[in-house]
């Protein structure tokens, strides 16, 4: 795995987990008001925590798109699943949500899946990766 792919994968995980954390913080503060009317979505967007979450998720989108330019979707998806582990840990330790034994087992399985996939080649021999100026 080259350094571009490692760096981009780390960026994807970080921006995704932190973005979802701030969104959750903001949406818990606002409660179920988002169902009242479409305008309430606009109000929700301007909550400071939601704004930070949206900014982080825009960074996540850029990192994710860049990573997809380097690697297969079936490589990117399991690798970036580490964001779910980070989200669960943030939920447990920062938002004080309950994490049961089954959830800890889930975290271990995801880590195992990431370890298995990270040993494979990031981009398989698809012709689209072989055009001039874009070598394997």
């Amino acid at each position: 795995m080259n350094w571009y792919i490692r760096g981009l994968a780390l960026a994807v995980v970080f921006f995704n987990a932190s973005g979802n954390y701030f969104l959750s913080l903001g949406m818990h503060h606002l409660g179920a008001m988002v169902f009242v009317s479409p305008a309430s979505y606009i109000t929700a967007i301007f909550h400071p925590a939601v704004l930070i979450g949206v900014a982080l998720l825009i960074c996540w989108l850029i990192a994710q798109l860049s990573l997809l330019s380097w690697a297969d979707l079936t490589f990117v998806l399991p690798i970036t699943a580490l964001a779910y582990v980070c989200s669960a840990l943030l939920g447990a330790f920062s938002l004080h949500e309950h994490v049961s034994l089954s959830r800890w087992c889930g975290i271990a399985l995801i880590a195992g899946g990431v370890a298995v996939v990270s040993r494979t080649r990031a981009a398989t021999g698809h012709p689209m990766y072989r055009h001039p100026g874009n070598p394997q």
Binding site: Y4, N20, L23, S24, M27, H28, L30, G31, A32, M33, V34, F35, Y41, V50, L57, L61, I62, Q64, L65, S66, L68, S69, W70, D72, L73, T74, F75, L77, P78, A83, Y84, S87, A88, G91, L95, E97, H98, V99, S100, S102, R103, C105, G106, I107, A108, L109, I110, A111, G112, G113, V114, V116, V117, T120, T124, G125, H126, M128, Y129, G133
Partner: protein
């Protein structure tokens, strides 16, 4: 309501990921992460209809996620929306013609199983 939102998020995430992956293959590898490079990338991406479609699908998933986060815990909402792993692996093999060998299948199954366990109450 909770599970309807999960369904919308899964469908839109799968569509978005497939379109983005296809669009970024056409785009070529991104090397330049300086502000000027990112500006150039943005200008080319706004003309890439696959990426535009992918981002639109992800925007729908995002608003559904906002609604889901308002009525459920983060540790339920985020993992429950990841049920698309196996669906996306199949679609990537069939549509994107990716070489999905046993290690990737094993990884996808482990992650999907882990995500299912994370979503359990």
């Amino acid at each position: 309501m909770k599970w309807i939102l999960v369904g919308i998020i899964v469908a839109c995430n799968a569509t978005g990921d497939l379109l983005n992956s296809f669009g970024m293959r056409m785009q070529g590898r991104v090397h330049d992460f300086a502000p000027s490079g990112l500006r150039r990338l943005f200008h080319t991406l706004v003309h890439n209809r696959y990426v535009i479609g992918g981002v639109a699908a992800m925007a729908v998933a995002f608003f559904a996620l906002l609604s889901l986060l308002a009525i459920s815990d983060l540790s339920f909402a985020v993992p429950a929306t990841a049920a698309s792993y196996l669906i996306e692996t199949v679609l990537a093999k069939v549509i994107l013609k990716e070489d999905v060998h046993w290690q990737r299948w094993l990884g996808a199954f482990l992650v999907a199983g882990g995500v299912a366990l994370l979503a359990m109450q």
